[in-house]
C-alpha cells in the first residue's frame, strides 16, 4: 500500500486561473495515494470558494476547509495540518504548480524511512507562463539554512514529525516555512535532497518571489526564525538582515578566546603590489598583528634557508614574543612546512595562512573562531580577494574539476542569482589553505597535510580528510583577506599530484554535495546544463494546431 501524502495548501484570493493550475497539477500526480487539503482563508473573491467546492465535489481526495475570517497564512496552514491524515505532508502554495512526478519522486526517498524530511529543486513561473531562474540547491546545508531559506519549495516531511516539532508557529507569518524547516531539520534523522525541479513557484505580483518589496515583514520574521533556532541550539548570536533580501547574518559571540596559532610557510620573498614593493610575510603578519580584533594569536613562521635575515628581524620586531620561527631546510613542500609548523604551535586552533596575504576585515579571525564553537565544525575558510578586489576564493567546488567558486567575480558580489552563494555562510566540500582555520585536534587526527602533495591539491585532500571524519567545513564571506596570488599565474601542475587526488578521492571530486548535478561540469559559477535555464521548450507544432490546442486547454 502506498503511503498517503497530504498536500497542504492555504488559499487566499489567488488568481482563479492560477488556483486551477495548482489544483490540476496535484490532480495529475503519478502518485495516486494523495489528499489535497485546501484551507480557504476567508478569500474575498467569490469565485475562489466556488472553484474549491467544485473541485472537492468532483474528487473525494480533495478536502476543503472554509475559514469564516482571514487568519493569516500560519492559521490557515495550521488548519490544513490539523485536517491532514497522510503519512507525509507536502506544502504547496495556492498558485504554484507541481511536476506530475513530484509526489512520487519525494515519496521514493521518504518511504524508505531513512530520511524524514525531503526537499527538491524549484524554479519560477514568469507572468507569461514560462519557467525561469532555476534554483539548483545543495544537499542539506544547515549553516546555509540559517543564513538563507534555500529550501523553500518543494518540501515534504513525515506528518508526525511536523506535529511533534509544533507545526506552524504564530508570529512567523511570511517566514513560517523557514521557521518550520529549521525546526524539522533539527529533529530529522536525515534530510534528503531530490535534485530535480519538481516545483514551479509563480512570480505572482503580490508574491515575495516577484519582489521582496511585497512582504518586507517576511524577512523580519525570518530574522526571528533564525534567532529562535540559535537560541534552541545554544548559539550565542544576534541575527540581522543583510543588503540581500532573504539572506541573514548570524553574528556569533565568542564564548572563550582560544589561542590561535597562525602557521605561515615562507621563503621571505618580496613583490610589487599596488605599485609598491612589499615583503609578503612581513606585511601578512603586520596586518594581523595590528588590525585583527582577535589578538590571541601566535605566529609560527616556517622559513626556508633562503629567507633574508632582515625579514626575520622585521618579524621579530612586529610579533615580539608571539613569534616562533621554524627553519625548514628541505625542498619546497607546502604540506611538510605546515606540518612542521604544527609541531611547534601551541594553540588549540591553527590558522593556516599563505604569506602573500593581507587581512581586510578586522573581525575575520573572531568570526572564524566563533564557528568552531560548534563541535561538528572543524574548519572554516574565508573570502579571499585578488589585489584588484576580484574574488580569488569563495569556497571550493568539486564538480568534475577542482575549482574556486565564482573565481574572478566582483569581490562584493553576492554570487549568481537566485542562489546567491557568496552572500551567505555555507558548508563547502573544501576551502583553500591560503587562509583556513582548523581545529588542532582534527588536524592531528587526520594526520595533517599529505606530504605527497607538495604543491597542489594539498588543501583539497586535507578538506576531504576532514569531511571524511564526519566534520563540516564552513566558508564565510564575513572573514576576508587579500591574496596576492597573481591572477595570471600559471600554476605548476604535476600530473602525479592530480593522479594521487583522483585515485584517493575520485567519487568526492566528481560529486560535490554542496553543488548540484544539474549544473555544468567543469564550471564554478552555478551555470546550469543546457536547456535547464528555463528557456522555452521547443514547440515545433504548426501555428494553427498550436492555436487550436491552446483553446482546447483554455476551455478545460
Amino acid at each position: 500500500m502506498l503511503p498517503l501524502i497530504s498536500v497542504l495548501t492555504p488559499v487566499f484570493d489567488p488568481d482563479p486561473a492560477h488556483l486551477v493550475a495548482c489544483l490540476r497539477s496535484v490532480e495529475r500526480q503519478s502518485w495516486a495515494n494523495w489528499e489535497h487539503v485546501l484551507v480557504n482563508d476567508g478569500s474575498t473573491r467569490p469565485e475562489v470558494a466556488r472553484i474549491l467546492d467544485e473541485h472537492a465535489a468532483a474528487d473525494p481526495r480533495v478536502k476543503v476547509v472554509h475559514r469564516a475570517k482571514q487568519g493569516g497564512i500560519v492559521a490557515a496552514s495550521s488548519d490544513a495540518l490539523a485536517a491532514a491524515t497522510g503519512t507525509f505532508v507536502a506544502l504547496v502554495d495556492h498558485d504554484d504548480v507541481l511536476e506530475p512526478h513530484a509526489l512520487g519522486a519525494m515519496a521514493a526517498v521518504l518511504a524508505g524511512g531513512l530520511a524524514q524530511v525531503a526537499y527538491s529543486d524549484h524554479d519560477f513561473i514568469r507572468a507569461d507562463g514560462r519557467y525561469i531562474d532555476p534554483c539548483f540547491k545543495p544537499d542539506f546545508s544547515p549553516e546555509r539554512l540559517r543564513n538563507q531559506n534555500y529550501i523553500t519549495h518543494f518540501l515534504m516531511a513525515e506528518r508526525q514529525l511536523v506535529v511533534d516539532v509544533g507545526g506552524f508557529r504564530e508570529g512567523f507569518d511570511g517566514a513560517q516555512d523557514h521557521d518550520l524547516v529549521l525546526r524539522l531539520t533539527e529533529q530529522a534523522k536525515q534530510v534528503a535532497h531530490v535534485p530535480q525541479i519538481l516545483y514551479h513557484w509563480r512570480k505572482a505580483p503580490t508574491s515575495v518571489s516577484a519582489s521582496s518589496d511585497n512582504k518586507p515583514w517576511a524577512f523580519d520574521a525570518g530574522v526571528r526564525a533564525v534567532a529562535s533556532q540559535c537560541e534552541r541550539l545554544g548559539i550565542d548570536a544576534t541575527v540581522e538582515r543583510t543588503e540581500y533580501d532573504g539572506c541573514y547574518r548570524v553574528n556569533r559571540r565568542v564564548a572563550s578566546s582560544p589561542l590561535v596559532s597562525v602557521i605561515i610557510p615562507t621563503r621571505g620573498s618580496s613583490g610589487r603590489v599596488w605599485g609598491a614593493t612589499r615583503s609578503y610575510v612581513v606585511d601578512a603578519v603586520q596586518s594581523l598583528a595590528t588590525r585583527s580584533d582577535y589578538q590571541e594569536l601566535e605566529f609560527v613562521v616556517v622559513f626556508d634557508d633562503a629567507t633574508p635575515e632582515p625579514v626575520l628581524h622585521a618579524l621579530r620586531r612586529i610579533a615580539g614574543d608571539r613569534l616562533r620561527l621554524v627553519p625548514f631546510h628541505d625542498d619546497f613542500n607546502f604540506s611538510a612546512k605546515i606540518n612542521a609548523g604544527a609541531t611547534v604551535a601551541t594553540g588549540d586552533l591553527f590558522l593556516v595562512l599563505n604569506d602573500d596575504t593581507e587581512l581586510i576585515d578586522p573581525a575575520s579571525v573572531g568570526v572564524m573562531v566563533a564557528h568552531l564553537e560548534l563541535d561538528d565544525v572543524a574548519m572554516v575558510g574565508a573570502r579571499l580577494l585578488f589585489s584588484d578586489g576580484t574574488l580569488q576564493h569563495g569556497g571550493h567546488v568539486y564538480h568534475h574539476d577542482l575549482m574556486h567558486a565564482c573565481l574572478g567575480w566582483a569581490g562584493d558580489s553576492p554570487g549568481p542569482w537566485p542562489m546567491r552563494p557568496l552572500a551567505v555562510e555555507r558548508e563547502c566540500s573544501g576551502v583553500t589553505a591560503a587562509a583556513a582555520l582548523v581545529r588542532r585536534s582534527v588536524f592531528e587526527a587526520v594526520g595533517g597535510f599529505t606530504t605527497e602533495l607538495p604543491l597542489n591539491y594539498n588543501d583539497v585532500d586535507f578538506s576531504l580528510k576532514v569531511r571524511a571524519g564526519g566534520h563540516r567545513i564552513i566558508w564565510t564571506p564575513h572573514a576576508s583577506w587579500y591574496h596576492f596570488e597573481s591572477r595570471t599565474r600559471v600554476s605548476v601542475l604535476r600530473p602525479e599530484e592530480y593522479a594521487f587526488i583522483n585515485e584517493r578521492w575520485h567519487y568526492e571530486i566528481n560529486n560535490d554535495p554542496y553543488y548540484n548535478p544539474n549544473l555544468q561540469p567543469d564550471r564554478h559559477d552555478w551555470l546550469e546544463r543546457p536547456m535547464r535555464s528555463g528557456a522555452p521548450a521547443v514547440d515545433t507544432r504548426p501555428n494553427v494546431l498550436r492555436r487550436v490546442m491552446s483553446k482546447v486547454q483554455a476551455r478545460r
Binding site: 589585489s387 574572478g408 559559477d525 551555470l527 536547456m531 521547443v538 515545433t540
Partner: protein
C-alpha cells in the same frame, strides 16, 4: 680622532652590553657627516617621512585604480556566464530544430521516393 682612554659607563646596573668602551665622537667629524647627510636628503629634512607618505598615497591611488579595473573584470566574468548560458541554450535549440527538420525532410523524401518508385 678617537680617544681610547675614555670609557663609557654601563647604561644601567645589571644591564649586559658587549660594548664596553667607545671613543668619543669628534664634533668636527660629526658636523662633516651631518653636512654630508643634509646634501643627500636635500633641502627638505623631512624628506624620508614625506617620501613614505607619498609612497603610501601613491599606493592607495594604485589600489583604487586596480579596484576599478577589478570591478569591471568582475562584471565581465559575470557576463561571460550569461553569454555561456545563451550560447549553450542556442546551440541545444539549434540541434533540436535541425534534427527535427532533418527527420521531417527525410520522412518526406522517403515517402516521395516510395510513391515514385
Amino acid at each position: 680622532m678617537a680617544d681610547p682612554g675614555r670609557a663609557v659607563k654601563p647604561a644601567a646596573l645589571g644591564a649586559r652590553s658587549t660594548l664596553v668602551t667607545m671613543s668619543a665622537p669628534d664634533p668636527g667629524e660629526l658636523q662633516t657627516e651631518i653636512d654630508r647627510l643634509r646634501t643627500l636628503v636635500g633641502p627638505d629634512e623631512q624628506g624620508y617621512a614625506a617620501l613614505r607618505q607619498d609612497l603610501l598615497a601613491a599606493r592607495d591611488v594604485a589600489k583604487g585604480a586596480e579596484a576599478s579595473t577589478g570591478a569591471l573584470r568582475g562584471q565581465v566574468a559575470q557576463l561571460h556566464v550569461e553569454l555561456a548560458r545563451a550560447r549553450q541554450d542556442q546551440d541545444h535549440f539549434q540541434r533540436l530544430v535541425i534534427n527535427r527538420a532533418q527527420s521531417t525532410v527525410g520522412r518526406i523524401a522517403r515517402s516521395v521516393r516510395a510513391r515514385i518508385f
